[in-house]
């Protein structure tokens, strides 16, 4: 679906974690036209001089009810304003924007890796994968037990594995440390979270093919035919896709504000992304 301006009516707003909110909006056009990984650009009140919209991943979308949800952290005046919007009020949303996750039709097992609020970036992919009959494991990392995304908000079919930095729940350490256990099981991995986490995952993914001998076993996806970097076909064949974040202006590709550095030059998060194959990104060497 092409992007459009939509008046989305708030139907429910809940604080699901300290400082984190889950809001449901009635927006049938967005609910039926969006794919996992895409985002909306939300206009906030300009009563205090806010001049930019705020981008949010579409957390879930249900075409049957016309409801989409957004999951966000209150970090500034724009998001603070959003928490005070009341049921029945409508927000001006531009969307759906950006390119979605690309799942290879032959992938049976998907590994989703989320750090903190990164859950919002991959959450919808879990629904799509279950609908398509794929197995899903979500690895989730947070500061402590009190910041762990409630399992009640995830579909029953998901295997949910948690790591906390302070060890108060699940694995004691970073979520990236859980990944090696799953790299043989997973056909593809999809991640969203802080950039150091994504950089570490990219590092792990880069050596995976050699470690597992996938290429030698003749399971090279696409029969060795190479698709142009950044194309949907190339992303489908990539083991790791990441959803990236950047401060954003227009969100349609006009202002060139939200770039990240790719191996072939700057990439617009709003247009070429927010989902990228890991090998498209020039990761900082220190990761």
């Amino acid at each position: 679906m092409t992007m459009r301006l939509v008046a989305a009516e708030l139907v429910d707003s809940r604080q699901i974690l300290p400082g984190q909110w889950l809001q449901s909006f009635h927006a049938p056009e967005l609910a039926s036209g969006s794919r996992a990984g895409q985002f909306v650009h939300v206009r906030t009140g300009d009563y205090s001089g806010l001049v930019l919209r705020r981008p949010f991943s579409i957390n879930t979308a249900d075409p049957a009810t016309g409801i989409i949800t957004l999951h966000f952290r209150m970090v500034g005046r724009g998001t603070e304003w959003m928490t005070r919007v009341r049921e029945g009020e409508r927000l001006d949303m531009l969307g759906p924007l950006g390119r979605p996750f690309e799942v290879d039709p032959r992938s049976h097992h998907l590994l989703l890796i989320a750090g903190g609020l990164g859950m919002a970036g991959v959450r919808m992919l879990a629904d799509e994968a279950i609908r398509d009959g794929r197995g899903i494991t979500i690895l989730f990392g947070a500061l402590s037990a009190s910041h762990v995304y409630p399992s009640s908000l995830l579909p029953d079919e998901v295997e949910y594995v948690v790591a906390t930095d302070d060890g108060s729940l699940g694995h004691h350490g970073y979520v990236t440390e859980l990944v090696p256990d799953y790299e043989a099981w997973a056909d593809q991995a999809f991640a969203c979270g802080p950039q150091p986490m994504l950089a570490r995952l990219a590092q792990l993914a880069a050596g995976r093919r050699d470690r597992l001998g996938v290429a030698k076993l003749g399971r090279k996806r696409g029969g060795g035919k190479s698709d142009p970097l950044g194309s949907a076909a190339a992303r489908r064949k990539s083991f790791l896709q990441v959803s990236m974040e950047q401060t954003m202006g227009c969100a349609v590709g006009a202002c060139l504000g939200c770039t990240v550095i790719g191996v072939e030059g700057p990439l617009r998060v709003c247009r070429e992304g927010p989902v990228f194959a890991a090998e498209e990104i020039a990761w900082p060497a220190s990761a």
């Binding site: 008046a7 954003m248 550095i261």
Partner: protein
């Protein structure tokens, strides 16, 4: 709320145009979309919940901009002349002037190459499009992050990322050619030779209606800002480009100078057809942990409502020393802003940062200006121009406007 919904839905079903569809029981989805559609056409006085935050964002889409005019009103609106020639001095030549259907332009850097907003904006209804700054060779731009919001505005340091003039011509020229809206290519460079070469390559390209010289980009080491802060350099680059092309030539002023008037005067004398004022103000933001500057490039250009008073002051000053048309830019978000700039002597206005929040704004401003002319009993918007300028100088900047082929 519940009861009203039922009524609306029922009414909508009863008058369903498609008889086939009206026999079927609508699904939940159909009913809900009908509610949205009906709600949108309700009058502003409708029962939409009041928003106490004073926000214009909430339910903005739900409120129609104006009641649909009657046929007679529409005919009166259509008679109002919003057209403007930004290059009246070229009017007689074969290339003609730079005639815009209305004086609301979209600013360089905020509207890409005119195609990015797709169906969200009807580009044909804009006065003109100033495209992203274009240089001779491709540029990768500055390190991210490149934008951040500031009180009443934003800072950007894109750094003139663009694919180079040849790629721009090849990729977008054929599209622009099919549009009736004029496209003005914003040109940047590091040397006079760069500017001249880009202008030369744009000359005669179908779909390119004019050039806006960006001699004031604050975001690149040698982005041409040196041309905008020095009178003789501004004169030299304008004159050189003037010799290189027959295209209508606008030159964009920088506010980052002590006195803009001698520079504006030099640009006029060097043969520019019009002046655009202003570019962004140089600014800085600090990273959240306060260990460095936030932007990858350290400095950024400030735009948005925060700079409107500065832009007004500069337009006001320039209007009193030049007689070529002035295109104002800086923090326009409403019709009042447009009228303020016109009163200070501008003949046209560019909308920039506000597009990011409200992509439909430029088109709406054109409609609102037309309606305002009708309300005031004017047959064009000319009477709005220069009314706030000191009386002894008269409407000097409007002289170029009066001269029409």
């Amino acid at each position: 709320m519940k009861a009203k919904r039922t009524i609306i839905t029922f009414g909508d079903m009863r008058v369903g145009k498609d008889s086939d569809r009206s026999k079927r029981t609508p699904t939940v989805r159909k009913i809900k979309s009908a509610i949205v559609a009906v709600d949108r056409t309700k009058s502003p006085a409708g029962a939409r919940p009041r928003v106490e935050t004073g926000s214009s964002a909430v339910a903005d889409l739900g409120a129609p901009t104006a009641p649909r005019p009657t046929l007679a009103e529409q005919a009166a609106l259509d008679r109002i002349d919003l057209s403007i020639d930004l290059a009246p001095a070229r009017g007689a030549s074969e290339h003609g002037g730079l005639i815009l259907a209305n004086p609301i332009l979209v600013a360089s850097g905020t509207f890409g190459y005119g195609v990015e907003y797709g169906e969200v904006v009807d580009v044909q209804r804009l006065g003109a499009i100033c495209c992203k700054g274009t240089t001779l060779r491709p540029r990768a731009g500055n390190a991210p992050p490149r934008v951040t919001e500031t009180p009443g505005g934003m800072l950007n340091s894109i750094g003139l990322q663009n694919p180079g003039v040849d790629a721009v011509i090849e990729k977008y020229g054929p599209i622009w050619q099919t549009w009736k809206v004029p496209v003005i290519v914003n040109v940047a460079g590091e040397s006079i030779e760069d500017y001249v070469e880009v202008a030369r390559r744009l000359d005669g390209v179908p779909g390119v209606a004019g050039i806006e010289l960006n001699i004031s980009c604050p975001n690149v080491g040698k982005g041409g800002l040196q041309f905008a802060i020095d009178r003789d350099a501004a004169r030299a680059v304008t004159a050189a480009v003037r010799r290189a092309t027959e295209l209508p030539l606008l030159v964009k002023l920088s506010p980052n100078v002590a006195d803009v008037r001698p520079i504006a005067k030099a640009i006029e004398e060097a043969g520019a057809d019009a002046i655009t004022a202003i570019n962004t103000l140089s600014g800085l933001a600090v990273s959240p942990d306060r260990t460095r500057a936030f932007l990858g490039n350290t400095y950024g250009g400030l735009s948005g409502p925060a700079i409107k008073p500065v832009a007004l002051r500069i337009v006001y000053e320039v209007a009193q020393v030049v007689s070529i048309p002035i295109v104002a830019i800086g923090g326009v978000t409403s019709l009042d802003d447009v009228l303020d700039f016109l009163a200070c002597g501008a003949v046209a206005v560019q909308v920039g940062t506000a597009i990011f929040a409200d992509p439909e704004l430029p088109v709406r401003l054109g409609d609102q200006l037309r309606a305002e002319c009708l309300r005031r009993g004017f047959d064009s918007y000319r009477p709005f121009i220069g009314t706030a300028l000191p009386k002894r100088t008269g409407a000097s900047s409007a002289k170029g406007v009066e001269y029409r082929p």
